[in-house]
Amino acid sequence: MSVENRVNPGTLLSGATTQIFARLNLQPRPVCDIPFWFMPSAILLEDLTKRYRDVSALNGLNLAIAEGSIFGLVGPNGAGKTTAIKILMNILHASSGRAQILDWDSRELAGSAFCSIGYVSENQKLPEWMTVTYFLAYVRNFYPTWDRDLERELVKRFDLPPKRKLKKLSRGMRMKVALASSLAYRPRLLVMDEPFSGLDPLVRDELIECIVQRAGDATLLISSHDLGEMESFATHIGYLEAGQLRFSEELRSLASRFRQVELALGAAPSLPGTLPESWMHLDASSSTVRFIESQYDRDRTESDIVRIFGEAAHATYAPMSLRSIFLAIARDARAAGENRA
């Protein structure tokens, strides 16, 4: 059997991430071989539930985010990302469950704890009457670790107009100001809620570059409903849907375990009653079989194929983009739900 490993444009890590890291002359963050949930957690959510009368925004959410990771929390609109983040930041209170952020229970997060934590959100209300310079000078007072040089560098890099009032800034500029004011004190954890939403691609790339470059060893939690932008720089990814975490995984491991498999067989295949559980969306037509392998291991996958179909004339194992993986998972989850129903 001949085997081909195809690399598609936009696939995980091998694509956009490495491009950004290369452009910035940075090494990708080391990814441990041990599962990340054994690493010290910067964020830990346990059975987190948030109800608004009859509506459950979060439904027993469990999540661990390892220190030093760039964690992309993705999911469709209304999945509960913003609610989870607001509970983490002690802006909202959970109905039940527990949220731990760095060294604090999130319900006790206040005052000086925010010297170690940055928060940037798309819908945050900034004091719009302040100029850029005054805003930075004002918030500077609250942070003992504020780095003036870094502040100046960020202002320069973001090309922020120092004397312009925040209300006169564009949305992208305001996001840059918020980001500058959250990076300048070198927080241990930076939480960003849909920071790139509605921004043009140029501004978005600038922000992403700056975040990756300037975050240092900080843990980053970024929520987004745009899988493409997460794929470009996140090291870990979590998928939230209907207030529950569908999965949370290191991006590299996710990329390595998913493959789009295509088999060219001599004749029309006869499908057995049971297929390996890791195979998703199997599609057999004439002499070709396509499916998604969610636990790709070359030897095991090959032996499974041989066991079920016999020798294939040709097999391709194509890496998948994050978007393709999520679509596959979402379709699978939906189908499982319909079956249960």
């Binding site: 005052g111 000086s112 704890a113 209300k125």
Partner: protein
């Protein structure tokens, strides 16, 4: 701790315009304040200046309100999108910074204003330090804390105005409801009022603490609504009648207190039959007191009328407010009662019995001070400055006075025989002993802080020549009068009845 300074400095920068406007208004107010106590010339000062002065006073209050709302909502405590929520703000320092701002730009200017105005009015401020502090306390309790509380549970000026409108509507509605309750007069509402202020004040402080330390707007709004409910229940369910009777016990039998009252026949009863219009009509009951000991004066705080009609029917007015002052010797006044038109009509033509009860406070005068009226301003005791009043017809029967912070309690006596004014006939009956009492109880507060000088009159009543048409002056330079401070002696109820009268005889005022 430094955060207080940072936040304060930021707020000053943010609200400099409002601060300047409020200070300019206060400056104008201070400049024009003598309007408050300067003697009124015969044709009055230009009306426009007094109107403008009043307008500036209102504008000043609104400006302070606006400033308080804006500064508190600068770090809004409602909602989840404020940038400061995820910054290292210490809540206690935030609260302290806001308090410092309000103290600096509302309390302190008012205190400075008071301290500047008092010497201009002739009162050394250091003699009135407790009163000044009490004024600050009242300013904080009645102007600042309620506004700060509403600001703490709202996110914008529009929301604030909406809630304020709701509060005003609630107060108006509750006042109307309480007004319909028999006996809910001021004489009986001391305990419910105390409960109301305690609950409202406690709720406001609880909400401020809750909002600044827990930021739970719904709980805070619940506390306010709950307290509004408690106040409504207390004010509508309070046993006003028994409260009056408890505060003003019946004079015990054998009491040494010889004071008494009786209902006079209305000697001015008109033959005119007044039509019955509306749901209620007024009855004017002439009351005469007797037996009050010399050196005492009685203030009628409330009165109650019961009418017994044939057939065992009765009607009761409940306790109604009154504020008549009665003196030793023959003292007469008309007590007004609002009577149900239906009951009145049902008794038309028949004889009824009437009982009137008065809840009174008796004051005893302390040692009197003899005062000689001077041509210009002259000091009366230590706490007031007076000058000769000038009336519309240039006759003088009163003194225009001012005091620091609150109106003093006084009882003034003038014997017209000793007047230095030129009189047409010193034996004319209208020139009998003249008396005037001001605020009988000296335990009033120090004012709301905005007017450190209280103007008041010592008015010895109208005096006319023997023709009864031309007013004459009885207070002139050199005239002596005595002034004493009355102190509360006791509170009690007096009652009297009159039988076999016609209500129609009491529909006109009896002089």
């Amino acid at each position: 701790m430094n955060q207080i300074f940072y936040i304060f400095r930021k707020d000053v920068r943010r609200h400099w315009l409002e601060i300047v406007v409020s200070l300019l208004l206060l400056l104008y107010f201070a400049w024009k304040s003598p309007i408050l106590w300067s003697p009124e010339p015969p044709f009055g000062p230009p009306r426009i200046s007094r109107l403008l002065f009043g307008f500036v006073g209102v504008a000043l209050c609104l400006c302070w309100w606006f400033l308080i709302v804006r500064v508190i909502q600068g770090e809004s405590l409602v909602g989840d999108r404020q940038f400061w929520l995820t910054r290292p703000y210490q809540r206690r320092w935030l609260l302290a910074a806001k308090a410092l701002f309000i103290i600096s730009f509302v309390n302190l200017p008012v205190l400075v204003f008071d301290v500047v105005i008092l010497p201009r009015a002739g009162f050394p401020p250091w003699h009135h330090v407790p009163g000044l502090l009490q004024g600050q306390l009242l300013l904080t309790a009645f102007l600042i804390v309620p506004i700060a509380t509403i600001s703490a549970i709202t996110d914008s000026l529009a929301q604030f105005l909406l809630v304020l409108f709701g509060v005003v509507a609630y107060i108006a509605g509750l006042s109307w409801v309480v007004g319909q309750i028999p006996s809910a007069s001021s004489a009986s509402s001391e305990i419910p009022s105390t409960v109301m202020f305690a609950v409202a004040g406690g709720a406001c402080l609880a909400v401020l603490v809750l909002q600044y330390f827990r930021r739970d707007a719904w709980v805070s709004r619940g506390v306010l609504l709950g307290s509004a409910g408690v106040i409504a229940v207390v004010l509508t369910a309070a046993p006003y009648g028994p409260l009056v009777e408890r505060a003003y016990p019946q004079v015990p039998l054998g009491s040494l207190n010889p004071a008494g009252v009786k209902i006079e026949k209305n000697d001015k009863a008109s033959e005119t039959k007044y039509p019955v219009l509306g749901k209620t009509l007024n009855l004017y009951v002439p009351i005469e007191t007797y037996g009050l000991v010399q050196g005492s004066l009685v203030v009628v705080d409330a009165a109650r009328l019961t009418i017994y009609a044939p057939g065992g029917r009765a009607w009761n007015s409940g306790w109604v407010d009154s504020s008549h002052t009665l003196w030793p010797g023959a003292s007469r006044y008309n007590q007004t009662f609002e009577v149900s038109s239906k009951f009145y009509s049902s008794t038309a033509g028949s004889e009824v019995d009437m009982r009137v009860e008065l809840a009174v406070s008796e004051y005893r005068e302390g040692p009197a001070q003899q005062i000689t009226v001077a041509a210009g301003s002259f000091r009366v005791k230590n706490d007031a400055i007076c000058s000769l009043g000038t009336g519309e017809y240039s006759n003088t029967t009163s003194l225009q006075c001012r005091s620091a912070l609150n109106e003093p309690a006084f009882a003034a006596h003038l014997d017209p025989v000793s007047t230095t004014c030129t009189l047409p006939d010193r034996t004319w009956p209208s020139l009998q002993d003249r008396r005037n009492s001001g605020n009988s109880s000296a335990d009033f507060g120090g004012g709301a802080g905005l007017f450190p000088v209280r103007p008041f009159d010592i008015d010895f009543g109208a005096a006319t020549d023997p023709s009864g048409k031309n007013p004459v002056s009885i207070v002139c330079p050199g005239t002596n009068f005595s002034l004493a401070t009355p102190a509360l002696f006791s509170r009690y109820r007096l009652g009297t009845s009159i039988n076999g009268i016609h209500l129609t005889d009491y529909r006109t005022y009896s002089y």
